[in-house]
Assembly symmetry: C2
Amino acid sequence: MATLDRVLHGRAGVREDTARRVRETIDRFEFRPSSAAADLARRRSSRFAFVMPEGGNLFMQAISAAVEDMAAWLNARRASAETIRADVFNPAALAATLESLVGRYDGVAVVALDHQSVRAAIDDLVAGGTHVVTLVSDVPGSRRHHYVGIDNVAAGRTAGSLIGRFVGGRSGKVGVVAGSRSLRDHAERVFGFNQVINLEFPGLTALGVVEGGDRDEANEALTARLLAEQPDLVGLYNVGAGTPGVVKSLADSGREADVVFIAHDLTPVTRRGLLRGLLDAVIVQDPGHEARSAIRVLLSLARREPILAEQEKIRVEIVMRDNLP
Amino acid sequence: MATLDRVLHGRAGVREDTARRVRETIDRFEFRPSSAAADLARRRSSRFAFVMPEGGNLFMQAISAAVEDMAAWLNARRASAETIRADVFNPAALAATLESLVGRYDGVAVVALDHQSVRAAIDDLVAGGTHVVTLVSDVPGSRRHHYVGIDNVAAGRTAGSLIGRFVGGRSGKVGVVAGSRSLRDHAERVFGFNQVINLEFPGLTALGVVEGGDRDEANEALTARLLAEQPDLVGLYNVGAGTPGVVKSLADSGREADVVFIAHDLTPVTRRGLLRGLLDAVIVQDPGHEARSAIRVLLSLARREPILAEQEKIRVEIVMRDNLP
DNA sequence: CTGTTAGCGCCTTCAT
DNA sequence: ATGAAGGCGCTAACAG
């Protein structure tokens, strides 16, 4: 039994000849180890931490909720996950939070701001033997083991294509509202969006990005200004959260029929917006998928099992009124 | 132990007072049963059958492949699944195949033609104690326990909205190619499609459905005729498989820039079509999700565990060039 | 109606 | 470098 176990998991301490014989026998009997038994027998359990924005928006809350829903599943696999709140928008605070985790967890998933000090903190975690997964927003230069989230450039391009095609040949301006350009995911979406609008829709002009910090009131004011100043506004793209504010100004202006509006994430507000025709499409990344993927990846890393990259890819989904889930 | 087990699974033979005490204790200690241990201890194993179309298209093959990929997962849960090929388009043959399964499996997933004799065969299976799940195409009047697949009316509506908005205000005809109107999923898609085109896009006229039996050559001929006879064709919707044929005729005509074309399912051909601009969007249902969902549902039914309806809902996904997975 | 017991297949520790 | 043995937490058969 013990030797089989060693061969199965590539652990040292087996003569090569013995290992070969074991493998042959495995093949001959088509032996397949039972993961249920393995989970049961495993003594040591893995601890994971999810570092999430404090007071996060509905999307972040959905991820946290999904993580909690996995408790029983994790428990059966000798693992557990807890959520830690941090000021994700403040590099120093986030870095400090991450540093405080060194050596205390087997794995950490973090919604990370791409900043020098955060990158260093991630690298310290990795150096200390903790597996790190970036969630929703990546930190490419770091030593993180994996990124769970969508291709944000592709998401931006998708939004651009949809607006470009939905305006139906009209020409005019397209407004872009973001939370902050220093958030990597927002910056990437804007990049992809502008790329498509500029290259593929010569009749459209993407206006400079305005930033509302993902807050409803700020976005409402920014949108109102945009609508007032741009009589030929034909499209509007909200890159981040704070969609309720944009929706409100757009509805107040009464120009929803003339302005194609695309936002991110499915919430009660965007859902209602789609049904009422205020929103034309929503770009979605499934928070449940992301949470489950992060957990699966952390577990695979902890157990030194391979990751099925294909299965862990998060899709950029398009939701319109007709295919609302 | 045994009494706990009985309470946990709602089995008979426990005095109500005892059951209450057990539940209280469970709450007090926040006891959570380990599914790994349960899987391990379960002696009896469940057998499932997947009845799939013989020589099915790429989409069906992808489902079968995903079922096979689940073998290890199922094995760890004391269950197994095998695939059975049947002539799904022939009601009598399909019904006969289903009848031959009575009493031999714990669960059956079937890609079903909605026909009287098939419905009867499904009901016989259910009467014999087999759990039945319809896959991809439903048989609503039957006693099947669950349907795994998309809302095909919604899929048709989505295709309609996309074409309507993508034509950019032009008016003209929209062609509809289907496999067969006697396939429930095709009929439902056509219904949803026509509904949207007729009600929401007064400038567009949906032509009568032409049927090509999901075969490439037939679809190619039908599409060629459509293009020749309708100089003002602005949109084209292929409801079923056989997209390569439609693509070929459309490319040959050189009118791809003027005709918005939407089809179903992601294959090498539709993928290439999107990249080349021949196809404007593809409506997708993830075959891997469907296979895994069917298996999870069958397993839950066999174990008399609740089904998480929310998680098992299959989405109607929209794929464009920019969000190709 | 309730309690006892023998595994399920693996991981881990300890002995050889 | 290999082997032996004790659980892990449950299910199912059986005893009381």
